[in-house]
Amino acid sequence: MTWWATRRLRTKIFVAIAALVVGLLLATLWLVEQAVSRQAERSLTHELMVTGEVFQQLLAEREERLMSNSILLTGDFALKRALATYDPATLATVAVNYRERSGVDLLWILDEQGQMLADAAGREPAGSKAADRPAVAAARETGKPAAAIAAVGDGLVQLVAVPVLGPEMIGLLVLGTAIDDATARDLETRTGSSVTFLTADRLFASSWDPATRGRLVLPTSGGGVPYLTTLPSGRHLSLLVPVAASLASPLHALVQRSWDEALAPLRSLRRRMALIGFGALLVALGVGVAIAQGVTAPIVELVTATREVLRGNLEHRVAVARHDEIGTLATSFNEMTGGLEERARIRAMIDKVVSPEVAHELLARGLTLGGELREVTVLFADLRDSTAIGERLTPTALLELLNAFLSRMAHAIEQERGIVDKYVGDEIMAVFGAPLDLPDHAERAVAAAIGMTEALAALNAERAPAAPLRMGIGIATGTVIAGNVGSAERMNYTVLGDVVNLAARLQGMTKEHEVGMLMNEATQAALPARFATRGLGTVTVRGRAAPTALYTLDHPRSS
């Protein structure tokens, strides 16, 4: 599992496809192999069974042929007359003569009691008892021709015993054909199967070579059912066909057909299928590589793109040339980066329109109406005589000048972490302590005022010899409501309260007091000692019941 978890996706897809294809291929090969091999086995078995039947028919035909030959022979009147002499010397010559005439391997002439009168081979002496020989006993019992397979001497002989009628049985003629290797080979030629005649303890005849004969074993059971035997010449399907015979132990014909030879076409088929399978495997592996590549390449591209975005390159886009899930993902990715880019652009714009702190506050708290009570310091700055300046300048030049003034003032305010609340013409309203918490908001506001004054001096120096610009700054510290003000659709972050009006009034009063800036008592009280302030008495500000103490910075540069 660890291996699987740590592999590349491409490897996994490839391994999965390869495993699937190999599995399917092997399963198909196995199924086909099974079906074909079972079919081959069945047809071979069937052939062998048919051979077994044909084989028994051939044996029966041989017997019939022998029988009809014998019956014709026994009808010969000359034979009857010769037999009726019961003269062994004569009959010995008759036996030889008839054996030559009929081409059989064995010919006996017996009297009606079953005593040997003559043996064409001269092995059995005249007068020996043959009544209980196979076939003879049956022929004597029934008076009809009888057949048997029996061991005579050291060989196997197919025998028929036929009564000689004169007109009743006057003797018997016994004819036999040997079942020897030549017979087995003849049967092999006619049936296409190897044939062996054997009992449990003896092999009588076979179409096999001597080396193979030594390997033949009679199975202890399973007659009638084909079974596999391994012989020097390969595997053979064997069928044990019982042969009725008059022997001490049952005689069988072992009929065998080469299994390997029969399955040779199957082997060639298997080879061809393996070849085709191998080809299919290669194709499947190729397809697997292509599919894995097709899936992972866009993923790699997406990863690259993600890294680009992470680095801040929001303009990076993924090439989309497909309509599948991966295409959808790429499109979504592009839309996402597009969205991110859009948002970043808006954020940058917001930062320009509102101060970054307000933007942050807005983003953090969300755009909801309402506010909170805070103690802040509000700063108002205004360019004096701006109307007169406006008259001297073209509107474009005036705007340029205003922008230069306002941006330098705003810079000075932001230096002290104040926020520019709004520009009203040439007037600037700034707040310290909202939305950012600044414990030293009064001190910072005063520091900003000093910075502004210096910045204006620098601007004036740049504009020389033009008439220098002058401004007034009013600073008031007090409690305000800070928050979003406006309608649900359109709102501003601002501060509201008496302090705002006071700061504006103080700014207005700088001119008459002939100072650069004025602050209220709360501001002055919050300043550290390093700021030298000077009281300017109290005034009654419009709209305020209580008199207001005025302070200005005495030595602003001394800090």
Partner: protein, 214 residues
């Protein structure tokens, strides 16, 4: 002297015939049923009277069968084999008692065959294997054939100690075993029973050689 002998012979013969008896009885099978067509005969030879011409008998060939199928005759009887079929027959026998063959006679009469030894003669036709006849050659003219019930009447049985045998074509009982020694006097034994082991459907080898002589 020979005349005297001849005279004594005639006297003896007359006295024999004068004192001849009639013997009745049955031939039965092992299960007690009567055996038809069995031959009961005197086994003691009775010399034929001199000068008497040999007896003659006929075994006909009708419709490819021997008629009669079983023909008992006295030794010395000559048998004719007339052919009443319109085809050839080839009558033969390989019996030791009398071996002969009368090749292919049609319409014509072959010379008669004289059977001069007692015994069983199986007669066949070489060209019709199913034709079978039996000629039983017995030592004396004293023989009889059983009727359908197996009963026989044996006439002219000489008085004194005699051997009477019973024979049937399908009998498996040896002739000696089917022979009874009887004393024939003023009152001959009545209801003599012979028992034969008969197997009607059994094919039986014809005996050859000395075996089975009556």
């Amino acid at each position: 002297m020979p005349r005297l002998v001849a005279l004594i012979g005639i006297v003896l013969l007359c006295s024999a015939s004068a004192h001849a008896a009639e013997l009745r009885g049955r031939v039965v099978a092992s299960d007690g049923t009567g055996v038809a067509g069995a031959v009961v005969f005197l086994r003691t030879p009775v010399p034929p009277p001199p000068g008497v011409p040999p007896k003659s008998a006929v075994m006909d060939q009708v419709d490819k069968q021997f008629v009669p199928r079983v023909l008992p005759i006295t030794v010395g009887t000559e048998v004719r084999f007339p052919n009443h079929d319109q085809i050839h027959h080839h009558v033969y026998s390989f019996s030791r008692v009398k071996t002969f063959d009368l090749p292919l006679s049609k319409g014509e009469e072959a010379p008669p065959v004289v059977f001069d030894q007692p015994g069983v003669v199986k007669v066949g036709c070489n060209i019709h294997d199913w034709m079978m006849g039996v000629i039983l050659v017995v030592p004396s003219p004293v023989f009889a054939t059983t009727d359908d019930g197996g009963a026989f009447t044996l006439r002219d049985v000489p008085e004194g100690e005699v051997a009477i045998g019973a024979w049937h074509d399908a009998s498996e009982t040896a002739i000696d075993a089917a022979t009874q020694r009887l004393t024939i006097g003023a009152a001959p034994p009545s209801d003599v029973t012979f028992t034969l082991a008969v197997r009607p459907d059994k094919a039986r080898p014809a005996v050859h050689g000395g075996r089975g002589n009556p």
